[in-house]
């Protein structure tokens, strides 16, 4: 089963929920950190990394001795990543989306794909948790292709927990799609509610089953709960605002390490998800 943890707003506790769920299950778990721009899961899971690979995305390289400057590559490219000006071809690697159009269309076979570095993927283990994350190269704009590569490591025999990036646009969609269940994490404040509504619209567009975790549940006001009631969204877990949890978080210590009783809560959460995803 694949469970994604997402939220519209950042800093609501996605990583906290993902980490504690993974640690509470303990065995046969695969943790994928798809927040490749700012991955933090490793700080809490503390895996021993065994493997690190650089991954890339194909971009065009033009063999100028074969090129006739016909301009077909520039015509097909929707991103202005390859342009033919008189007797010259210019490639702008950072604009390329790797659609393959230019090398498929080139009548002279003068274009071949080479890699642009997206970042690295690291894999490791801590006990029964297999850990995989991607780290986007500084200066690289496009995270979805790296997220796709992280997700290509999914082992469907395990319980897969995906820590998604914040927001509601392409990187989030790439992370959560094909999940069996999405856990949305919010806090009961106006910002939390506003971004939760956007996240709910997104998840509904993707037609995925989902439920809600309210973090720091005793701050703010009741508007998130009222919204959930109106929209028939089930609140599966509430976590109180607790300075001890926040301080532990600051040092890279998970909730279940300081409050072992939370293990049972996260295991119950998992069984509830299992029941709903199967239904």
């Amino acid at each position: 089963m694949i469970i994604s943890i997402a939220s519209g707003k950042g800093g609501t506790g996605k990583t906290t929920v993902a980490v504690n769920l993974a640690l509470s299950l303990g065995n046969q778990v695969q943790y994928l950190d798809c927040d490749v721009e700012e991955p933090n899961g490793h700080i809490f899971i503390k895996p021993e990394f065994q493997k690190s690979v650089t991954v890339g995305t194909p971009i065009p390289e033009v063999n100028k001795s074969k090129c006739t400057y016909c301009g077909k590559c520039g015509e097909i490219c929707q991103y202005n990543a390859i342009v033919v000006i008189k007797n010259n071809v210019l490639v702008f690697p950072e604009l390329c989306h790797s659609c393959a159009g230019c090398w498929l269309v080139c009548p002279e076979n003068a274009i071949s794909p080479i890699d642009r570095e997206l970042g690295i993927i690291e894999q490791g283990k801590n006990g029964g948790v297999e850990f995989i994350h991607g780290k986007l190269r500084i200066g690289e704009a496009m995270s979805p292709p790296l997220i796709r590569k992280v997700k290509s490591e999914i082992d469907s025999n395990k319980t897969v927990i995906i820590d998604a990036p914040p927001g509601t646009s392409c990187p989030v969609i790439e992370s959560v799609k094909k999940s069996d269940f999405v856990l949305l994490v919010t806090e009961p404040t106006p910002f939390g509610l506003n971004d939760l509504k956007l996240a709910v619209e997104m998840i509904r567009t993707l037609k995925l089953p989902f439920g809600l975790v309210i973090n720091r549940s005793d701050i703010g006001n009741d508007d998130v709960r009222l919204y959930c009631k109106e929209e028939k969204i089930d609140i599966l877990l509430e976590i109180k605002n607790d300075r001890k949890i926040a301080e532990a978080y600051s040092r890279g210590t998970s909730m279940v390490e300081i409050y072992p009783e939370y293990r049972t809560k996260f295991q119950e959460l998992y069984h509830e998800i299992e029941r709903r995803a199967g239904a």
Binding site: G8, K9, G10, G11, T12, T15, D35, V36, E37, E38, N40, I43, I76, Q78, Y79, H97, S98, C99, A100, G101, L104, V105, L136, I138, G139, E140, A141, M142, S143, P165, P166, G167, T168, S169, C170, P171, I173, K177, T189, P190, F191, N194, D195, L198, E201, M202, T205, L206, I219, G220, N221, R243, A246, E247, Y249, S250, R251, G252
Partner: protein, 290 residues
């Protein structure tokens, strides 16, 4: 005219709280919300929309079933797994590259412009504001960010304003790169946690390292872990980044938000005072770094 972009690396560190406070502290400015896929600044500034425009960006393929001969060429050329085996395009997965459109032997694929969101110019009680809303599950947030910044700049030029204050997105990817490219300076709001510190280092490498933009750093909730706050200050010092202040954990931030006010409007307390000093520090240093 100076453009200051507030970013954070890690989400939820207090970007929008600080940006909204700056709306009360900075004279002669336009506010711009560039966190277009989870925009929150409007919840505090309550904009009164004066101008609204659709944002078209990119295209999406659509296979006309009646004209399709089911040859499968489109599935073969699509690099994004956006066309199902029964030859229907998934508009969410479609990148709008047009390769299927080009290679379809019977021209059975339409390629229409995407309505990806809208953008607004508004009045607020604290001055003009440019903001946007990205459509649900839409792409091209970077292009919308660029558009919001361009409109804010135009407005600042027309009205002879001194500052553009931009609320940025979390992360280091496309929307962040679009928010900070060519800006006068960046303020990174971080928190004293291992995650905050890790993400700060990455976002500073992007802003100060990769783009060579003058970078300021402040720490929110500094008393959550004072040792780590000191480490962050040390990091700033050794990387020649200006550290401009530290804000303690304060319930008043949430209370102000619940009342639809920024912290400067809501309270005269210590947190408001600290944020005033942060802006003062930035303004004093701007003359030297730009």
């Amino acid at each position: 005219m100076k453009e200051i972009v507030i970013i954070s690396g890690k989400g939820g560190t207090g970007k929008t709280t600080i940006t909204a406070a700056f709306a009360s502290l900075v004279e002669n400015k336009v506010m711009a919300d560039c966190d277009v896929d989870a925009a929150d600044l409007h919840l505090i500034l309550s904009p009164d929309i004066q101008h609204e425009e659709d944002f078209y960006s990119g295209k999406t393929a659509f296979i006309r079933e009646n004209d399709c001969t089911q040859c499968g060429k489109c599935v073969e050329v699509c690099q994004f797994d956006a066309i199902s085996p029964d030859l229907v395009v998934d508009p969410v997965a479609c990148e709008g590259c047009g390769v299927c459109v080009y290679f379809c032997p019977v021209n059975a694929i339409d390629f229409n412009d995407n309505l990806s969101g809208c953008w607004y110019i508004s009045n607020t009680r604290l001055g003009p504001m440019v903001h946007a809303r990205l459509g649900i599950a839409e792409e091209n947030s970077g292009k919308l960010v660029t558009l919001v910044r361009r409109q804010a700049k135009l407005l600042a030029e027309q009205q002879n304003l001194d500052y553009i204050i931009v609320d940025g997105a979390p992360g280091i990817g496309c929307p962040v790169i679009s928010s900070i490219t060519g800006a006068s300076a960046v303020l990174v709001v971080t928190e004293p946690t291992l995650s905050g510190q890790h993400d700060l280092e990455r976002v500073v490498s992007l802003a100060a390292g990769h783009f060579q933009i003058p970078t300021f750093v402040c720490v929110n909730k500094y008393n959550l872990n004072e040792e780590m706050t000191d480490q962050i200050k040390e990091f700033c010092k050794s990387n020649h980044i200006h550290f401009v202040g530290q804000i303690s954990y304060d319930d008043v931030v949430t209370k102000a938000m619940l009342n639809g006010k920024n912290i400067i409007e809501y309270s005269n307390g210590k947190t408001a005072e600290v944020i005033k000093n942060i802006w003062q520090n930035i303004e004093d240093k701007l003359g030297h770094v730009i």
